[in-house]
Symmetry: C2
DNA sequence: CATAAAACTATGCAACTGTATAAAACTATG
DNA sequence: CATAGTTTTATACAGTTGCATAGTTTTATG
């Protein structure tokens, strides 16, 4: 490892810490209370240091948003990729991951809600949201197409788009409902309801979960 | 009309204006930028006047949140109530209203996202959210129960809860997806996708929409 | 019209905001 | 060890924040 890499690594480590501190601060205190001084406190450094790693406050917020969306997407995508060659299993894994921790937690939904309004005020934030939204949508559509094809079903582009919209919407809705609900039944049965409903929407009996 | 009522009405009118100004300000500039001075500007009054109608800034934010949730619920509920005695039609109307303007607009979703984090920091905001969430959930569950009963189908409490969760989640998810999407196809086909999917979930062919 | 209450404005204050900058501490290298 | 570069702190600044308060205008009533 060259020296240049070491300092780069140190630099990234501190930068990472600041980004994580930003996410924690926003989740716990809300974006309105996430000031540079509070973020610095969470990271255990003086407030001036933030400017050494990020040019502006907007900069660190954007970096934190990117990290947040990346983490959600990867959690589902990596779980899915482990299943090779079994289209229905891949879809089931992808949906299941989106309906379980660490994606389904109050912290995640809070972060999502705190960031969302910024994507209407800051062009860079809009770009970041659209980038990851497109990746998720495309992945889901492809998974559905392949799962249906595995059962010898071919659907039109229009129908595929509608199915994808419905499933995507239901996943997002259950994600929010589950994370916000104080009712433990809701969070426990979330995965079951989501998979069974997806099975009904797609007409894929093989996707659904047996009752316990 | 007695004088007491006139002054009360005037007072409410100004209070209304301030609440509306708060909602507009939050939707356009985000909760972080919704200061008492900006809100006063939107309402066309001096900043000091807000304190005459609301004890604290939290107070006017809470009042605005209440108004916001009330408006969403009423838009769907009143549309539904017009259909008497036809359970499936009532359900269809309720779902359709939740998938159309004025509920499905970027402004509404933005307001929702801006308020949500506050319900984790302010106990009163939590109460307000839970109050309206319970009303919506109960209404939807009852509508589903009656629509199924009209087709001679009786479901267990557990099954009804699951169906309600799934439909509610899908509606919320499509609501967000539709309002945030810049793709016009999405917003146009939202209602159709939502109703057809609800039909699939409930197994109620009579709920679905014919293709145009 | 007089006058008291209600509605509204103007201004001030301490605390806090993002940012700039200079000084300090630390680290690697000759 | 010296010294140049990097990382970190401390402090200062102008602008903004929620809130308080005193004063002004408007409105209702005898």
């Amino acid at each position: 490892m060259s020296l240049a890499e070491i300092t780069l690594s140190d630099r990234n480590e501190r930068g990472n810490g600041l980004i994580e501190a930003t996410l924690t601060c926003i989740a716990e205190e809300g974006i309105s209370n996430a000031t540079v001084r509070k973020i610095a406190n969470y990271a255990g450094v003086s407030n001036g240091l933030i400017r050494f790693y990020f040019k502006t406050k907007d900069g660190i917020i954007q970096a934190a948003y990117q990290r947040f969306l990346e983490r959600i997407f990867n959690a589902a995508y990596e779980a899915m990729e482990e299943r090779e060659g079994e289209p229905v299993e891949r879809l089931r894994t992808f949906l299941g991951a989106n309906l379980s921790p660490p994606i389904v937690t109050p912290e995640m939904v809070l972060l999502w809600a705190n960031f969302l309004p910024l994507t209407y005020q800051d062009a860079r934030m809009t770009e970041i949201r659209e980038q990851w939204y497109n990746m998720t949508t495309r992945s889901l559509r492809e998974l559905i197409r392949e799962a249906l094809a595995a059962e010898q079903r071919v659907v039109s582009d229009r129908e595929l788009r509608h199915l994808s919209m419905a499933i995507n919407g239901m996943i997002d809705g259950l994600w929010i409902e589950g994370a916000l609900s104080t009712d433990k039944l809701v969070t426990q049965e979330l995965r079951e309801v989501g998979l069974n409903t997806a099975a009904k929407i797609l007409g894929l009996e093989s996707l659904s979960v047996e009752r316990s």
